[in-house]
Amino acid sequence: MSEFVNFHFDVDGDNFVSAGQASVKVKKNLREMGLDPDIIRRVSIAMYEGEINMVIHAGGGVADVNVYKDYIEIILDDHGPGIPNVELAMQEGYSTASDHVRSLGFGAGMGLSNMKRYTDDMQIDSTVGVGTKITMRVNME
């Protein structure tokens, strides 16, 4: 057996309606694995925010959730426009979402900060014009 179990998702950037589905699937799998409800909740919120971000800003991407023995790693990888100023983007309420996205109730500028809040570690690796890779980690025990 490999060192971790991987759940892989292609996040479709053209389909706003289906955004958030990967988070639901992850949750279902983690529940079956008998993980702590609080861990599952944190992973699924971080995953949900990341998924929505990829759809809103990056035209989709790929998401991987890797379950290790004592931690869960969430990797979100896109080929979107990149984040010019990560520090600014991390601020609560800072948003570059379009009016259209805001009219749907998204784009409140809480995505990245929520992802940080609900995970134990978060690394943002972003290059303007190339894409963004976010790696989050939620520790168990």
């Binding site: 179990v5 529940r31 079956e32 694995m33 008998g34 409800p37 919120i45 949900y48 379950v67 929520n114």
Partner: protein, 427 residues
């Protein structure tokens, strides 16, 4: 794999002769509790939440809710009927709830205590509870037992949000018993029988099995459809009833979706009904993806309790009929004194059923990881059309059943076998 013992008894029964193994119920079960085994439908009691969807969708009438029969339960000296509010929505042009109450007395009940009465107290107590400091919001209604079981088996992180009050049916049972003892001191405790007239199998299970550590105060549970036919014969609209309803619009309103929530008198509420919408809302609450709300009412049945499997009328028609019944009712007839802020301790439930009611892959994390990986690998080999012919609801569930060692093998996938045969024939 270790087999866990199940002691939870559900109230959904299968008539084996009528079951054709058609997979309809398999595809509609919201918790994937059903498998078709040897051509017959089987329910996994650990997963079943008693929502009654399988009864609703079975084209052969092979599933039925198990209830007590009135004629078999005459053992109590003093029989008290507890009609659920939905009962009043079953009759055409009913302008006065008193006719139904009188009819219940006429068929042999000694007294009637409307659940709607207790519901009005629950509404009042909920308003008090909502003002408490430090409670988890949004508060989730605890009146629908199917939703309660769904939360405790699939959404344990939301248990803290549950309104910790007993449902109206139980508070009605406690109050009715107390009232009977006061009014008839000659009666022994065992002489008094509480008969709940239920709209759904979920309430039947709740009564028979309790919830967590809580044991129901109801003694006998009769199906609403049975009672409907019993009282239809004796209900006289041309004779003024002697009995008088003690409930108001608030209490009767609990019969349909939104009734409980609107009685909180706070506009930051949401009321969802129909099991699929309920699951969706619970997912959204768990993801923190709902508007800022104070209270959420969830009903497993479409339309609320009027949509229960043991009612007669279509839920939307029943709701409309309730508007007629409610027309001349006061807003509420059961409320607390203005300064009352205390909720009696006996109206709280203590614990919820434990989380491991859900079928985990394994308690051991490494083993769970191993099994999850095996499920994913196997799933990729399957046709992915979720036809149900193997007896599991989806290809994913089938892979899970194989890995868990629940009986099926990959050879049970007829589509995969057929594809193989076609390939061999071509060669």
């Amino acid at each position: 794999m270790a087999k866990r013992k199940t002691c939870y008894r559900h109230s959904v029964e299968l008539f084996v002769d009528k079951c054709t193994g058609c997979t309809t119920c398999l595809k509609h079960c919201p918790t994937e509790a059903i498998r078709v085994h040897d051509g017959k439908s089987e329910i996994n009691p650990d997963r079943c939440i008693d929502c009654g969807e399988c009864i609703r969708v079975c084209p052969h009438g092979a599933r039925k809710a198990l209830c007590n029969k009135w004629e078999n339960h005459q053992e109590f000296k003093w029989k008290i009927a507890l009609p659920a509010p939905a009962l009043f929505g079953q009759f055409n042009d009913l302008e006065d709830a008193d006719y139904v109450i009188q009819a219940l007395l006429d068929i042999g009940f000694d007294d009637v205590f409307e659940v709607a009465q207790a519901a009005e107290y629950v509404s009042a107590y909920t308003r008090i509870y909502m003002k408490r400091e430090g409670i988890k919001k949004p508060v989730l209604s605890s009146a629908c037992p199917a939703v309660m079981r769904l939360i405790s088996t699939r959404f344990p992180s939301l248990e803290e949000n549950l309104l910790p009050l007993l449902p109206p049916m139980e508070i009605a049972a406690i109050m009715a018993k107390k009232k009977a003892k006061e009014e008839h001191p000659e009666l022994d405790e065992d002489d008094i029988g509480i008969y709940f007239i239920s709209p759904c199998p979920a309430k039947v299970s709740y009564i028979n099995m309790g919830f967590g550590d809580y044991k129901s105060h109801v003694d006998v549970v009769i199906s609403m459809s049975d009672v409907y036919f019993m009282i239809l014969g004796v209900m006289r609209r041309d004779v003024q009833p002697q009995a008088a309803s003690k409930a108001g619009m608030v209490g009767i309103g609990w019969a349909s979706s939104g009734g409980e929530a609107s009685a909180i008198l706070n506009d930051k509420y949401l009321a969802a009904d129909g099991i699929e919408h309920v699951v969706d809302i619970l997912e959204k609450i768990e993801d923190g993806n709902i508007p800022d709300l104070e209270f959420i009412e969830l009903n497993a049945c479409t339309g609320g309790c009027v949509g229960g499997m043991m009612t007669i009328e279509n839920p939307f028609i029943a709701k409309t009929r309730l508007q007629t019944v409610r027309r001349y009712m006061p807003v509420s007839r059961n409320f607390l004194a203005g300064d009352e802020s205390n909720i009696p301790q006996e109206y709280f439930f203590g614990s919820t059923p434990s989380y491991d009611g859900l079928t985990f892959l394994s308690q051991d994390r490494l083993q769970a990881m191993q099994m999850m990986e095996a499920i994913q690998t196997l799933h990729e080999e399957l046709p992915g059309i979720d036809c149900g012919a193997c007896g599991s609801p989806t290809c994913r569930a089938f892979a899970e059943d194989i890995v868990k060692g629940l009986g099926p093998t990959i050879e049970d996938c007829v589509v995969r076998q057929a594809e193989k045969n076609i390939k061999t024939n071509k060669e």
